[in-house]
């Protein structure tokens, strides 16, 4: 099960005209335009829900099927789509406090691509408890807490690091498998008899291309995490 989008991102009006997130510190900035839109203006909730579902479906296709594509050598077709989803998603942060609900709610569907959130909720909780102190949240702008807990570096990159480790393991396993196959079928023609063997020989033999595919898949996540870190890091 995927962790629910932005568990702490519900905005509550506080005292003295301040707004705060559930479970987070109070913020002094008023979220003007978004809050100013009355609930009656959001009458067409089914459109918002449908757009959310459409964007969520595309994000799942880009992320999860994209990850699986590395197993079957199809990642060249998927990495562009994944990066496209990431590029679209980060647009929501431009002056986010003024964006209308017709943007913010559908874009929530894409949030899993931001930091490659491919692990299920239970695994994420246990990994985060291992790599981060309990209840640690890095102070950052309110808008970056809308779709993710915070911008703590370890929390933003561990999905990508685990993914790189996994692809390396898969690559080594395939390589060992092919070496065993070669030793048992020494004649040249044998590789054409089995579609998968031939396919993986092609796929596995181009190391640079494989590294490029993995790097391209994770590149924006690392770039985005590092830049957010440079903005908000404090000791």
């Amino acid at each position: 099960m995927v962790r629910a989008a932005a568990p702490d991102s519900v905005i509550y009006p506080g005292s003295n005209g301040q707004y705060h997130l559930a479970g987070q510190q109070a913020v002094s900035t008023q979220i003007t335009r978004y809050v100013d839109i009355p609930e009656s203006s959001i009458g067409d909730r089914s459109s918002l829900r449908n757009l959310f579902n459409l964007f969520r479906g595309c994000a799942i296709l880009a992320l999860f099927i994209g990850l699986v594509s590395f197993l079957v050598g199809m990642s060249a077709a998927f990495d562009d789509f994944f990066i496209l989803c990431q590029l679209i998603f980060v647009h929501i942060f431009i002056q986010m406090e003024y964006n209308p609900p017709s943007l913010r709610i559908p874009f929530t569907g894409l949030h899993i691509v931001q930091f490659l959130e491919w692990l299920p909720s239970a695994a994420r909780t246990s990994i985060e408890s291992g790599i981060l102190p309990a209840n640690l949240y890095q102070p950052c702008s309110l808008i970056f807490q809308q779709y993710y807990e915070d911008v703590a570096f370890a929390r933003t990159v561990y999905h990508a690091i685990l993914f790189i480790g996994l692809t390396l393991v898969i690559w080594v396993i395939i390589h060992v498998f092919l070496l065993i196959y070669d030793s048992r079928h020494p004649n040249e023609q044998a590789k054409y008899n089995n579609f998968f063997v031939y396919y993986y020989k092609q796929y596995n033999s181009k190391v640079f291309v494989f590294v490029d595919k993995v790097a391209r898949f994770c590149y924006f996540t690392f770039a985005w995490s590092c830049i957010l870190q440079l903005l908000f890091f404090s000791n």
């Binding site: 077709a77 942060f93 031939y198 640079f208 490029d212 957010l228």
Partner: protein
Amino acid sequence: MFGLLRRGANSLSDLTFNVVYEDVRINKERIWYYLFRYYKLFLIAIVVAVTYSSSPVIPPIILIILHIIDFGLIFAMKPLGMEQPDLVGAYMFYPKYPKVYHYTMLIQQILFILLEIFWLILFGIRNSADSGTYMGIGYTICAFVILLLLNGLFRLIWGILKILQYCYLERQANYLSVEKLALENKDGVDDNLIMN
């Protein structure tokens, strides 16, 4: 690990852009674009992260300029015009993939420019428009996002079909060439036997 890196480094020096350029989807004469597309992603991340709270006009304008530059580069220099080896029996998906990739990338830049123009409109009317209009601009931006996703999906599906077609036909061609070689060797042996 070191072995892997060393092998990768060898690939970088000898084979990368001469042999496998079609796999990184770049024209071998336009290697600089390979780096440019990484720089562009990095620049977008910087622009959005650093200017998210500045004037609402600055980030979309910088992004529009970036996409215009990218559009111009793709259109004029054709860096995505990868050359693919001919494949006997290939039709539609494999041979036309470079063109599809080229045109869908151009369309993607245009759609991003339109998306960001509407983002500017959104900020332009935020103090004067009524809530319905403001929501409507949001829906319009979502429509452009859908077009972008459809464009990306089209390229994705074409790419999958291209890879499948390539693997099937190349395996078949190699299999046939091995069979032919085996037959020729067999014939050669028979001729020798007859001569003797």
